[in-house]
Assembly symmetry: C2
Homo-oligomer: 240 residues x 2
Amino acid sequence: MANSTGIQALVFDVFGTVVDWRSGVAREAQAFLNRHAPGLDPFEFADAWRREYSPAMEEVRSGRRPYVRLDVLHRENLVKVLNRLGITGIPEAQIDALNLAWHRLDPWPDAVEALYRLKQRFIIAPLSNGNIRLMVDIAKRADLPWDAILGAEVVRAYKPSPQVYSETVEILGLEPAELCLVAAHNGDLAAARRLGLSTAFVARPTEHGAHQTTDLKAEQAWDFVVDDLLQLAGQLGCTR
Amino acid sequence: MANSTGIQALVFDVFGTVVDWRSGVAREAQAFLNRHAPGLDPFEFADAWRREYSPAMEEVRSGRRPYVRLDVLHRENLVKVLNRLGITGIPEAQIDALNLAWHRLDPWPDAVEALYRLKQRFIIAPLSNGNIRLMVDIAKRADLPWDAILGAEVVRAYKPSPQVYSETVEILGLEPAELCLVAAHNGDLAAARRLGLSTAFVARPTEHGAHQTTDLKAEQAWDFVVDDLLQLAGQLGCTR
């Protein structure tokens, strides 16, 4: 039934698609901010930290910098944001601890049950820019039953660089269309489609908070367009 | 309690340590041999195929050949063995199908329960020379609850090359001694110990059949020496 689509494996964007990074980072930063920057909105802090994410990876994608794992970029970005906010003189160990905020993110409410259903018929794995240890820590804490941890660190490149998708297809021994990327971001899906992957858009209209303006809906006719991952599981024949 | 040892993650050799490759390959080859080489003992066939394993990887370890995944080496080795046995004219698709024997191996009886217990306290992952898809297929069929698939393909090198162990330590963000290699092979453990990893020897005295002569016992004072993985789980405080 699932294989009327020919899909054999599903790979997932994680930050925003499977887990709610913004609430998680805000929660994890709250105590630190109370101490060092009372009055600063932890959600604004999470947004500021996240704004450094794509530019930092772009250094690697452009070839200006060799691959380094996301934990390293997150920490550099954190130091940058703290400096900009005038939060200085923080012991290294406290910065390290705060950087682990990204390892303790909660899944969206539909994610865990949907992944368990999908795992019965498909290989499921993250295809995240997060590094392996980061993905493992999130998964163990949140009970995400991945079959493998794929993504940036395995291929040593960052999405949306094309080799992340094409090498993952090769690692899984599949034809491109047999692999489906599941993501809340049209740009990620567009890059996957250019390599021939199947595509599933899941709407996460509050990833960036109540006033989100991007990725509110599918911008192409993706193979699947769903409101949450349980709906995707249903459309793929994984109803229980 | 587990952390009186300081160990945070356990990585496992798979062929021989977690799964019984010899019985599985023999079983999977039986029908093929009945058709093409009646009278040939499928266990002898499995042994002949396996004898090509280490020399094929040695081409990569020595630098004479760039990394190719184990599925490719297994298939080349299979063709070599079939030719030697005078089994010729086999359609490519049948060779491909037989090569998947390695994807359908059964775990030793203690393995699944032990991995579930160990997973509660430790990150657990294969550190096999098998490629990612091969490990995923074995795990899904056998219900091995890995947290990630590490090993040769992630670092693009074959054990016992030192970078397999050292890069895995780095990927997991650990000190070497916080990572324990679990293996039924003294040579694998010796290579891991040279890089500072913790070590656990599990006896698998019938991996090579009833007349096995190698790896019958621990050849160094490994950190743990056990008769099966449930015993290891017990010694690491994972009794349920």
